[in-house]
Symmetry: C2
């Protein structure tokens, strides 16, 4: 079926190209995750009240406790919090993207998040944003290095400045101020990319970068999932996993601008909160021995750590 | 030990009276809950970076899975979000209160929250706020009526207009806009009470009202805890309880002004997030049969319901 017909939105040729790239990214990631898990994603088509809609894919699998890979293309009125970043006379926006969060069962497999998106206003100004970050329950420095190296390689093939700039941005973005902790080992984050903010790269070239990041996901994450999904774990590991998922919920509901933007602009709540884990836990002031693996992981949750060395 | 010495803050005679009333409320509630549970609260004294401190009491008990009753008296600089409600030249504030959230184990026992507080600026203007609301996992109309009746009786003994006004305020406050659901069956909520907003009642009289609400807690909640704590339940009831607790987390982290105020003004995170349950759950678009008890409860989660009739 034609994309316009399916999501009920008339779009330009470039928007069509972006949307088709995004649908292909969603497809390729879901295939890789399904193959690793042994279970298939369930698919859900939906319409957005303001116009457009999406294709949500969710997985309750053998190794993935709760995973969601969401595609959406929507239009709507420009909300107050977006005004500063758009043409001053812009009244409506077009936004499309793929967003995913994977909560694995096994505490040795990190939580992962990725988002690649494209925005345009009715005045024709456009920009690109995205990011990917890893939240290990227990930090493994080798895996952290490999994850960051995969991202750096894609960044470097477009611009030698991208990795450091976007890695620093991720450290600042995926940060729980009220805990003074990063969400995990970070990754990259970027927003408002357009010719003016990328030393004159065309919007088409910036889109190619975003698309390449989308296609870097499998390389960066699947080996970590594959290598740990069958590792043995104890009740103590599970308890720590549930507590770290509690922190994940705190970040998404208190600090994540994407989540708040969605909830405040009448987005589809079930698709936005797909990012929350099936089970999470909170304890009052839990304590861990100074030489414990839990304390070691906490010691890594700070900004500015160089994982590649 | 003297209150000033204990919390390291010099306070006026009226502030001392308020603080002693609050400590007595905390004491009486913890005693009643402990007796019902069979386990004692753990006590934790802490200091606030801006000045003052608190006495946090937490319970991991036989029937209460996670309960916290927190007293605090703190000072600090007036944050931007509070400026509109204070003397325009106010620079610092004094705030003291008791705040509690009880998460029971048994799904037949509702979650309960209460907060009574007193604010004063360095320019001498003062006001009073508070509230109490019940979040049943499964709504029981008789219990809802008794709970609201207990609150109404206390309200009526101070002002015939209070109950309806504060009940409506609670419906509006304890509301999850992104779900179009109230948090539970509500209760009462009030803020900025002072002579100008209470038909000229003195701040002393308004404080007596707040204190009386604090002392209404045991009457309103203990019978519900007592009558349901040993009821049998199934896995299906437990699943629904975890999902409703997920909604509770959503409200507290996305919409609760008290929580956001605390997290943004450098409050003590562990005491603020004491309100979160030990275990919570999220599923993608869970479905329940139209004639199920879960759907019946959902049908009650709307504003404007008259529980007393």
């Amino acid at each position: 079926m034609d994309t316009e017909e399916r999501f009920g939105l008339k779009i330009s040729d470039f928007q069509k190209r972006v949307v088709n790239d995004l649908l292909a990214i969603q497809e390729s990631i879901c295939n890789a995750l399904s193959q690793e898990d042994g279970q298939n994603f369930q698919e859900d088509f939906w319409k957005h009240s303001g116009g457009g809609g999406g294709r949500t894919r969710v997985l309750k699998g053998n190794h993935i406790e709760k995973g969601g890979v969401n595609f959406s293309m929507v239009t709507g009125e420009v909300p107050p919090m977006m005004k500063g970043n758009m043409h001053p006379d812009a009244k409506t926006f077009f936004a499309t993207g793929v967003s995913l969060v994977i909560h694995p069962k096994n505490p040795w497999v990190p939580i992962v998040h990725m988002n690649v998106r494209y925005f345009e206003s009715d005045k024709g100004d456009a920009w690109i944003g995205g990011g990917i970050d890893l939240t290990p329950i227990y930090v493994n420095k080798d895996e952290a290095r490999d994850f960051h190296s995969a991202l750096k390689m894609t960044c470097d093939s477009f611009d030698p400045e991208f990795y450091v700039k976007f890695k620093t941005w991720a450290d600042d973005y995926f940060f729980l101020k009220h805990r003074n902790e990063t969400r995990g080992i970070g990754g990259i984050f970027y927003d408002y990319l357009k010719p003016e903010t990328t030393n004159g790269k065309s919007i088409e070239d910036v889109w190619e970068f975003n698309k390449a990041i989308g296609h870097t996901f499998n390389k960066a994450y699947i080996p970590i999932l594959s290598g740990n999904k069958n590792r043995e774990f104890t009740e103590a590991h599970k308890r720590w996993q549930l507590l770290r998922r509690g922190r994940y919920v705190e970040f998404n509901l208190v600090w994540d601008k994407g989540t708040l933007f969605g909830l405040q602009t009448g987005g589809r709540t079930e698709s936005i909160l797909m990012s929350l884990p099936q089970f999470a836990s909170w304890e009052y002031s839990p304590e861990f021995a100074p030489d414990s693996a839990e304390q070691e992981t906490l010691s890594y949750l700070q900004k500015g750590f160089n994982w590649i060395q």
